[in-house]
Symmetry: C2
Subunit: 313 residues, 2 copies
């Protein structure tokens, strides 16, 4: 244990899948995320005392942050309890890792107060417990980038193998979140369980291209590889104006465009901030013309994952 | 047209698929390949005058090199004919791109004698015509590395997008070719046309890992990623002692092991030549103990594709 008994942490929103990289790739956004304050208390219980921003369960066993903290308390044999305050900056159901940001923040904060017994990568499996509560599946492609930062490749789940990839310096993301709700559970249900080998080969050809583009800072190759022939054709139906946004963004000069996570948010990659801002204007224009509210973000691929905002009182 | 009317070229044997990279990845071996001599003749016809090493059709329209030359003659509107001599160094049915080596050599030689109107990458689609004759499918994962050299990623077939990846400097391949025949056509037939999304995700996670390992010279990651959960379980049944070779090679220190192309050759990657030689000994020992003849090769990932051995008489 260290001397601090209170810590305030930030964990970013994240974009999982990244077109063809379904379930294996994700990255964090800058400046959008959840803030979680964790305070040590004597009583060995987890008490959520405040949730700002959105309406979420206060009961620890039903709260994403709560279950993550509980699991860490058990495994690290922590002899005290916690009070938790959560400021949700990521809207649930937005497709940019709302539950993941809370889960990552919770895992990161507990580890800080426990004197950092675990490496950040080792926290991923704990944060995955929160994902399991939220979506029924303990996936890592949001929690890992939210904890670790940068592009994160989940090569394998068993054993869990997480690889951090440096992002090309000039790669920017434009992201629009239309205010319709797509539930991750539902959005997984509509996926086919069997796919053709032919399509699968196309997909892993594009995965290989996208990864090479990231590794070698080949922006054009990143763009050419941003094709999801398996998930997007099914899921994009749930997102209003998806085809138009994608087509207009790419026509304007974006490298590529796809669904953020399970949607409904849509993201595009651009080379340089100027182009990312132009794509931002295009997305705004398209959603302004229909009766849907939306949020827009322009961000680098954040090299930072979760971090401490403030230690101690 | 240049002044030379005869050229002798070499095109290397190649390993396609490279475990998880089914249909999208391949690399050439050093010092194993086909030698093709092409001579300009006045009569506008393609005449194969000599085939050494193996018994293959002399009729140009039924010969892999013949059809490649014919296609180039048509597209480049070449106003003369050719005499062709082929020294097969790659055994048909070996799984290391026998037809591809002939096809690549033929395309490369015609381009040389025609004064190099096409870039080497542009020759790939012509060499693919030879593959189509040989296996019924015009795949590129042998002809592209045989022509271009180094690791070759076929990101997409439509449009054809070929990306050359530098190999880690210390990466060696040990390859054993047991003398049993596996026909590419048959070996494709046994593959399932539908696969589970779950397995496909595992596969592209490994593809992403393997490509990252190659791009960043991370040998350990290359090894961890060499898992083919889709093709190998079916095809390896046709290869005697496959499981034993794989297990013993990895236990001895190889990074990973898999089927070369559609088999029956089996390859392993190692860091450093010393380890690759040790794996060579292990493979020899295993096949010596059963009644099958075999060839063994130890090779770097050749940075060279097809090249001119001799220009002019």
């Amino acid at each position: 244990m260290n001397n601090n008994d209170i810590v305030k942490v930030f964990a970013p929103a994240t974009v999982a899948n990244v077109t063809c990289g379904f379930d294996i790739l994700g990255f964090p956004l800058e400046n959008v995320g959840d803030v979680l304050t964790l305070k040590v208390v004597k009583e060995k219980q987890i008490r959520i005392t405040k949730i700002e921003g959105f309406d979420l369960p206060y009961e620890a066993s039903k709260n994403v942050a709560g279950v993550v903290i509980q699991k860490l308390v058990e495994d690290l044999e922590i002899g005290f309890g916690f009070e938790v305050e959560i400021e949700k900056g990521v809207k649930p159901g937005s497709g940019i890792g709302s539950s993941a940001a809370s889960a990552a923040a919770a895992a990161f904060a507990v580890n800080e107060l426990a004197g950092r017994p675990l490496k950040t990568k080792e926290l991923v499996k704990y944060a995955m417990e929160g994902e399991k509560l939220a979506s029924g599946i303990s996936h890592a492609d949001n929690v890992a980038p939210s904890l670790v930062g940068n592009f994160i490749l989940i090569r394998s789940y068993d054993p869990l193998d997480i690889i951090r990839l440096d992002s090309p310096a000039d790669l920017f993301c434009t992201l629009v979140h239309p205010h319709i709700q797509v539930n991750t559970k539902d959005s997984r249900k509509i996926l086919k369980k069997q796919i053709s080998l032919e399509l699968a080969i196309k997909q892993w050809g594009n995965v290989a291209g996208l990864i090479t583009g990231i590794n070698l800072s080949d922006y054009n190759l990143i763009g050419r590889s941003m094709n999801d022939v398996i998930i997007e054709p099914t899921r994009s139906i749930l997102i209003p104006m998806f085809d138009k946004i994608k087509e207009a963004s790419i026509r304007a000069g974006a490298l590529g465009c796809g669904i953020a996570g399970s949607g409904p948010s849509v993201f595009a990659f651009s080379k340089g901030k100027k182009m990312a801002m132009a794509v931002n204007d295009i997305m705004r224009e398209i959603y302004r013309n229909i009766d849907i509210n939306f949020d827009l973000y322009v961000s680098k691929i954040s090299p930072k994952g979760a971090f401490v905002i403030k230690n101690g009182n």
